[in-house]
């Protein structure tokens, strides 16, 4: 007898994978965006199963509430209002495959190399506090590097969006 938790876990795992597949294969780009939301949402549920409530909350807040709404905003602005079609079919098949295959290789390598240990009855600490102390103490350098990267991206985006000086 499978318990209720397992059923929910399997359901959201399957939903995450299937909606991610739909994102790639759907013909309508707005449908793709909405099925990406399903992917993010089911990933958030999986995070809750890993006792990472904070990550789940941030996942929904940032990806669904921020990034995807921005996506939809841009899509509607370009497609519906100005009647500009978004190109959906891929043209450069060979470079894409050449790029994707090593990526798949790396993922498979990592998955098979990792020793997936089953941990029984771990005691979870207070989630947010321990996360904060890890980020600002042990992993301070990667944290700061990530913020510099984001700042760079922000400046780059501003530069691209600025009306050209003609």
């Amino acid at each position: 007898m499978i318990d209720f938790k397992t059923i929910v876990l399997i359901f959201f795992g399957a939903l995450a994978v299937s909606s991610a597949v739909l994102v790639v294969f759907l013909r309508n780009i707005v449908y793709s965006a909405f099925s990406l939301i399903a992917t993010f949402f089911s990933l958030a549920v999986l995070f809750i199963f890993l006792s990472a409530e904070f990550v789940a909350g941030v996942q929904v807040l940032i990806y669904v509430g921020g990034i995807l709404i921005l996506f939809l905003f841009a899509l509607m602005l370009s497609q519906q209002l100005s009647q500009k079609a978004v190109k959906l079919s891929s043209t450069k098949l060979l470079p894409a495959v050449l790029l994707a295959l090593p990526m798949l290789g790396i993922f498979l390598f990592v998955i098979y190399q990792t020793d997936w240990e089953l941990v029984q009855n771990i005691q979870m600490e207070e989630g947010v506090a321990s996360l904060a102390s890890l980020l600002l103490d042990k992993y301070l350098l990667p944290f700061e590097l990530a913020s510099i990267l984001l700042l760079g991206a922000l400046v780059g985006a501003l530069l691209l969006a600025r009306p050209g000086e003609k």
Binding site: I37, F54, G66, F73, Q80, L81, G127, V128
Partner: protein, 362 residues
């Protein structure tokens, strides 16, 4: 903090499995608080607007027109359910559902009293903000699926206002998290006994409260920020094509959302069920919960009245003014408030303004 389901479970000496009580508590909150309130709010809104405009308002159905919302509900259910041919059928049907799921799921963490909360999540504040974005998603979906320029513009305006105003709202709530050291609303309310309301903790939190309230108003699309449904420019905005019960669902969700933001403001800034000079330890067990419930609800309703009062007093903002207000004024101000609150916590060792004054006399 104990949740309602565990409270009921212990009350019956744990004779029934817990999940029954989890379901029961959800049904209780939804059908005893959310839905009646959302329905009653439509009546209240009309009465308040009538009062402000020196009219009488609904007065035909029942005493003082009190049953008007039931009559309206029956009328809307009986209406023909129209789905435009050119619309996207699936999303057109899904949009009201997503809106209603998003706004009703926010009721999970609202602390009405010590034990009357469905689940006191330890990421409560994040949860509220995350679920709020689901509502916006529904409005965008509805606007897009209607296949109508007005609806689409309404949906896009809603998207723009939500992604902008989420930032000051989240930063204002971050100040509360800084002061309380927790994201769970039960914990946040517990820390605000007597005079220790977060509103008066320090001057910066006082400003944060107003930042939160303004941003939250913009996030739930209330006048003066109701540009997604601005009827003078966009006919009806994202729900132009909706009729009958689907339209009513959008409306119910809107009032439920306002209730949620008022409840969050109450719990985060106005001390929840705590009022000065009232010590719950001196009050009999049986009276405690109803008293807390009534005090919380009173605070929420006062804020709710303020929301309606604003709607019928202020004219609507223009889109560029709305976004300008957010990005050029509220966002920098709320960043400044986060920095200043952190400095206050550092300088005074986390003590509140009230605590410092009390410190002088003892």
């Amino acid at each position: 903090m104990e949740s309602l389901s565990i409270f009921l479970h212990n009350l019956t000496q744990q004779t029934l499995p817990l999940w029954i009580f989890v379901l029961l508590s959800i049904v209780l909150i939804l059908f005893l608080i959310t839905l009646p309130f959302a329905g009653f709010a439509t009546y209240l809104e009309r009465k308040v607007s009538a009062d402000i405009q020196a009219r009488i308002g609904p007065n035909r159905v029942g005493p003082y027109g009190l049953l008007q919302f039931i009559a309206d509900g029956i009328k809307l259910i009986l209406k023909e359910d129209i789905i435009p041919t050119a619309s996207d059928k699936i999303f057109f049907r899904m949009a009201p559902m997503i809106v209603i799921i998003g706004s009703f799921s926010m009721f999970v963490i609202i602390p009405f009293a010590q034990k009357i909360v469905i689940a006191d999540l330890n990421i409560g504040v994040l949860y509220i903000l995350a679920m709020g974005s689901f509502v916006a998603l529904g409005t965008i979906m509805g606007g897009w699926a209607s296949n109508n320029k007005w609806s689409l513009l309404g949906g896009m305006r809603s998207a723009a206002s939500v992604i902008s105003y989420e930032i000051p709202a989240a930063l204002a709530l971050l100040n509360v998290i800084l002061v309380s050291g927790s994201m769970s609303f039960g914990h946040i309310v517990d820390q605000q006994k007597f005079f220790n309301w977060n509103l008066f903790h320090n001057p910066f939190l006082f400003i944060s409260f107003f930042i939160y309230f303004i941003s939250a108003l913009a996030e739930v699309n209330r006048t003066p920020f109701d540009i997604p449904e601005a009827d003078s420019e966009l006919v009806g905005g994202y729900h132009t094509e909706y009729s009958g019960m689907r339209f009513a669902l959008f409306f119910l969700a809107e009032y439920a959302d306002i209730f949620v933001i008022c409840a969050v403001a109450t719990a985060a800034f106005l001390g929840g069920w705590h009022v000065p000079f009232l010590n719950y330890e001196n009050i009999a067990e049986g009276v405690q919960l109803p008293l807390q419930f009534i005090i919380t609800l009173t605070k929420i309703l006062v804020l709710f009245y303020v929301v309606m009062w604003l709607r019928w007093t202020l004219p609507r903002y223009r889109v560029d003014q709305l976004l300008g207000l957010c990005w050029k004024f509220l966002t920098p101000l709320s960043f400044l408030m986060v920095i200043l609150t952190s400095m206050w916590m550092l300088c005074f060792g986390g003590r509140s303004f009230y605590g410092i004054i009390i410190g002088f006399f003892s």
